[in-house]
Structures are given as C-alpha cells and as structure tokens.
C-alpha cells in the first residue's frame, strides 16, 4: 500500500511535457571513430549518447557538416543511420575516498567485481592546472625506497620525474617499489596507478602484489588495457590525474603514475589519423606536445593558501633501443622536472635498478632531500662519475697509483651498494645508514659479493642494538653522535664478515 502511495505521489509530482533533444545520425563508423551528421550545437569534448545501444562517445572533431566522435566502448551493434543525441555534459570521472583500493576504467566504472562505487562527487577529466601563484616550490621529499634514486636523483612531492627506458628493464618494478614504500611514510600520499595500454596479465600481477603487501588500501588503479579502444588509452591518464587532483585540492598528498605515456601518444595518433587531422613528425598530430604538457602541468605543490596539497607525477616513457632523442621522449623530458634513465646494457650486466646516473637528473635535487640524506649523499654523484671515468681508463693500463686504485675500489663498492632487489624498498633511515657506510669508506675491505649481506646485517644490528638511530634519522637528523653509532655498528658487521671469510 505504501509503495502504491509512493508511486502515486511520484506520478503526481512528475511534470510531463514534450522533451526536445538535439540529435544527429551516424554516417560512418570506422576504427572506433563515428562520423555523425546533425548535432548542430554540440560542443568540443561533450559526451554524446547512442541511444540504441546505451553507449557513449566523446566529441573530438567539429566540422562544417559532420562531427567526429570517439567511441567510449567497442561500439558493437551500432550501425549507419542510428541516432546520436547530445547530453550537454563534458566527460567527468568519479572521485573520492571510496575509490581507494579499487580498480576502475577511465570512466570510473569498477572492474574488480567488488560492487558499485558510489562517490557522489565528480570532476571533469579536462581541467586547468594551478596557476603560477597558486603553487609553491617543491621541498618535501617523496621517498621511493630505492637507494639510487633517493640519494642521487631525489624526488619531491609535487615534482614530475620521468622514468625512461626500453621494454623489460624494470620501469614498472621501480614504480611498484615506490608505491610499496609509501606504506610507512609520513603524510602518506594516495597512489594512483594508471595502466595505459598494458597487458591484462601484467596488471593482474601488479594488483596481486599490491594487495599482498598491503599497498592496495591506499592505491587506486585506473585500467585501460591493450585491448581497450584507443579512446580509453587516451583518456586513462587524464582520469588518473583528475582522481589525484581531488586529494591534492583537499590539502593531501597524491602520487600519480602513468604507465606508460608512449601508449597514450600512440592512441592519440591513431585517433587523430582516423579523424584525418594533418599528421606531423612520425605521423603524430601537431598537438602531441600539448597532450602531455596539459596532463603533466596539473601536477605540482600548492601554496598554503590553496591547502598545501601536492600531486606528484611519475610518467613512464618506453624508448626504442635506448634512444632518448626520439620525438616523444624529448617532448616529455622538456616538460618534466627531471628524468631517471634506465639503461639496457647496465641491466644485462646485473646492475639493477639499471639507473644511468650520468643521464639521470632531478631538477629539484637536494631541496627535496632530508638534511641527513643530503649530508651523506652530497658528493656521491661526483664520486661515482669520477669512478666511471677511472674505470674506463683502467681498462687501458694496469699501472695505477694507489689513490686511483682506492677510488676505483670505493666506486665498485658504491655501485654494489646501489644494487637493490625487486619489491625491497628501503625506508629512508635505512638508506641513509647504508649510504653513510659506503661514502665513509667503512666497507673498503669487504668482498664485493658480501656487500648485500653487509647491508642486511647492518640494518639488523642497528635495529637490535641502537634503534634510536633510525628514529633520529627518520626526522632527518644526522649529528656526530649518530654518526659514531653507525660507524661502530658498521665496523662490527664488517669485522664479522671479514672473519667469516677467513
């Protein structure tokens, strides 16, 4: 009875009057792009609906007599002559805390079979970036848990740091370690991982890893896999950055990872060619730079007046045969605040992560390092560069003076120290201890094969006998007392390793 009354009330309240819809008709469907006639007043980036299949499209081309629409699904069942109508809305994506731990597509629809996501809040996928005066300089560190990065090319919260490298040499592994390391960080950033054009098996493995390590709770995965339409690959990074912006604008920290932007640029090239936009260099459209610049400019550190939130971006670009002078890599390098270049020869020589220190840089640099790390890693890059020069020189001659030999030996030890396994990110305090031991020469007589054991045992030793060292280091303090304690622990572990050799 109650239900009948409810229906009766709704029927009475409903004002039925003729509805006027602005419509068009499909002229052509080709490669995920629909050409439609009509739609006279349609706006650029507006969403249109194909009523016959309850599917949607995104308006990308406005021509005199037809409109170019990118399909937002496979377009099955659509045919010439079908009606398309305006929704008078731009594309939005759901945002909010309810997305944490979820896997979604670029339209915000869940893919993980954990039920509907009811966020109640939506933001447009295309938004303007914060202005110059709404930002402040990047000073707070974002610790990746990877020794080579945190010591040599430190990343700050609000920075854009590009990760470049050939296929299969550890770009995604680096990213996973970064996400895992955020678990124990202060003011932990929300992580948004955008899988753009990746294999579904790889995405599944990544999600399983994050779930197993307890990192999925603060991560959102936006998926546009390799078999999704090109429009999804184009939109996925924008959806990811919009989700991250929600947290940034609330005064929180967010980290968004685009894996990878090369696939997005291929998708945009595909869409542009089908839309018959004039192709430029390497058949990319003329606005390929703008595609990435408007995406990456949305990352940044906001001023206190704007809430003080930050959005850090880690875009990934896949190079071909190590060529960082390609069109897309050079574009994105010029947009970002630094790059981490992963080198294939280093990878195959066993140097993992295979970071080429010479070609990697962080334009924010030590401003985004804890004072303690800044202190211990101050001359590390220069020392390693010197070592590499001398190592090359030593290939031509065996007659070297003792200082050169010492520098080479120290360099080999540092190189060994910087090696790190997969899924083993180190908290910053442990990194500082390890780098300190290396740069102070406390490992000088240790066999290279025992360096990894030394690292583990040193951490164990300090945890067991002087845990206050880690507490102080986590605050960024490295005073002479702490240095003395670390030295003592290091010498003890070194002694044990050397005597076990004998």
């Amino acid at each position: 009875m109650e239900r009948v009354e409810d229906f009766k009330k709704k029927l009475e309240e409903l004002k039925l009057k003729p509805k006027i819809e602005e419509i068009g008709e499909i002229l052509e469907i080709k490669d995920g792009i629909v050409k439609a006639s009509g739609l006279e007043g349609v706006e650029n980036f507006e969403i249109v609906e194909f009523e016959s299949r309850n599917s949607f499209g995104l308006v990308l081309n406005l021509e005199e007599s037809e409109t170019g629409i990118a399909l937002l699904d496979r377009g099955e069942g659509l045919k010439e002559g079908d009606m398309v109508k305006r929704t008078k809305k731009t594309l939005t994506v759901p945002v909010g805390e309810k997305l944490l731990g979820r896997v979604i597509d670029p339209l915000g629809r869940p893919l993980d079979e954990k039920g509907e996501i009811k966020t109640g809040e939506f933001l447009p996928i295309e938004r303007t970036s914060p202005s110059v005066f709404e930002r402040e300089p990047v000073r707070e560190p974002l610790h990746t848990g990877i020794l080579a990065i945190d010591a040599l090319t430190p990343i700050g919260r609000g920075q854009r740091e590009l990760i470049l490298g050939d296929r299969g040499i550890g770009k995604t592994a680096l990213i996973i370690d970064t996400i895992l390391n955020q678990k124990t960080e202060k003011k932990r950033p929300v992580c948004v991982y955008v899988a753009c054009g990746q294999k579904k098996s790889k995405i599944k493995r990544l999600i399983n890893t994050l779930e197993k390590k307890g990192a999925l709770d603060y991560t959102i995965v936006v998926c546009a896999s390799a078999d999704d339409p090109a429009s999804f690959l184009y939109l996925a990074p924008f959806a990811g950055v919009t989700i991250g912006e929600y947290f940034r604008d609330k005064g929180e920290n967010a980290l968004v990872i685009f894996d990878d932007l090369t696939k997005q640029s291929w998708a945009w090239r595909e869409i542009s060619l089908v839309l018959r936009r004039p192709p430029g260099r390497e058949a990319y459209p003329g606005d390929i730079f703008y595609l990435h610049s408007r995406l990456l400019e949305r990352a940044g550190k906001l001023s206190k007046e704007k809430g003080g939130g930050s959005l850090t971006a880690l875009p990934i670009i896949e190079t071909q045969a190590g060529d960082i002078s390609g069109y897309i890599p050079t574009n994105v390098i010029s947009i970002c605040d630094g790059q981490i270049f992963l080198d294939s020869p280093l990878f195959y020589k066993g140097q993992r992560p295979a970071i080429d220190i010479g070609k990697s840089v962080s334009r924010v640099g030590s401003q985004a390092q804890l004072p303690a790390m800044k202190k211990v890693a101050a001359t590390l890059k220069l020392d390693l560069a010197q070592f590499q020069e001398l190592e090359r020189f030593s290939e031509f001659t065996e007659e070297l003076d003792s200082q050169t030999k010492k520098t080479i030996e120290r360099g080999k030890i540092m190189r060994e120290i910087l090696k790190q396994g997969d899924l083993c990110p180190l908290p910053i305090e442990k990194e500082i201890v390890i780098i300190f031991s290396g740069t102070k020469g406390l490992l000088d007589e240790v066999d290279l094969k025992k360096i990894q054991s030394f690292k583990e045992e040193l951490i164990e030793e300090i945890e067991r006998t002087m845990p206050e060292v880690f507490v102080k280091l986590k605050e960024g303090v490295l005073d002479s007392e702490t240095e003395a304690k670390i030295e003592k622990a290091a010498l003890k572990v070194k002694g044990r390793l050397i005597s076990s050799d004998k």
Partner: protein, 128 residues
C-alpha cells in the same frame, strides 16, 4: 580518395550548390555534374551520387512526424503547415508507428521532439 568518399563529396557539393536555387538552376547543376563525370570517365557513378544526394535531402530538408495512429486529414494538414512554418519551409513526412501508443514525435536533422505516451512512460520509469 576511396570511391565512397568521392561519391559522398560530390553529393555534398551538389547539395550545397543547389540550396536556395530555382528549379531551372538546379537542373543546370545536375547537367553540369553529369558532364564533369563524363569528362573524368566516371559517368557510372552518377546514379550513386544522385542516391546519396536524395538521402541528404531526406535527412536535411525533410521533417519526419511519427504518429501512433492515422489522424483526420484536416488535423494532419494543420500539423504539417505548423511544422513547415516552424522549421523554415521544410516538407513533412508522416510515419505511423504504433509503438508510440499515443502522442507524437518530430524528427529533423538536428532535433527530436518527444511527446509520445511511450516517451512519457519511459520518463516515469526513469523517475522511479
């Protein structure tokens, strides 16, 4: 350029050229088209161009009025005249679609006016 696109472009050109022209001028345009195609040895495309052109006319210059059932001729005349006036002299085609249950729909190239019982019921369903 593929043949389908070529035919489409020719039909579009003919459509735009004939807009606002008198009957004599339209006939001249058609003759010019036939001559051009003959010069390019593509006279065999003429029927397809005309077919595409007529499709464009139907889509852009005619209004479709969908009714649930046939009405008295006086009423239909009034509706047609009203619509022609509203939509700048376009001609009206009447289509009977019993699925509408009652009321009507008006469809032009750019606009769809939904005023049928079926549409009202759908709206009520959405509201619930």
């Amino acid at each position: 350029m593929n043949t389908k696109k070529y035919i489409s472009n020719l039909a579009e050109a003919l459509f735009l050229a004939q807009e606002g022209k008198k009957e004599e001028e339209k006939n001249k345009l058609a003759e010019n088209l036939r001559r051009i195609l003959k010069e390019r040895k593509k006279e065999y495309l003429l029927p397809k161009v005309i077919e595409k052109f007529e499709e464009m006319i139907s889509r852009r210059q005619r209004i479709k009025l969908f009714l649930a059932k046939d009405q008295k001729s006086d009423l239909i005349k009034k509706i047609k005249s009203f619509l022609s006036e509203k939509f700048k002299g376009k001609e009206v085609d009447i289509i009977i679609d019993q699925n509408l249950i009652g009321g009507f729909r008006v469809k032009t190239e750019n606009v769809l006016i939904k005023a049928s019982v079926k549409d009202f019921l759908n709206e009520f369903k959405t509201c619930l």
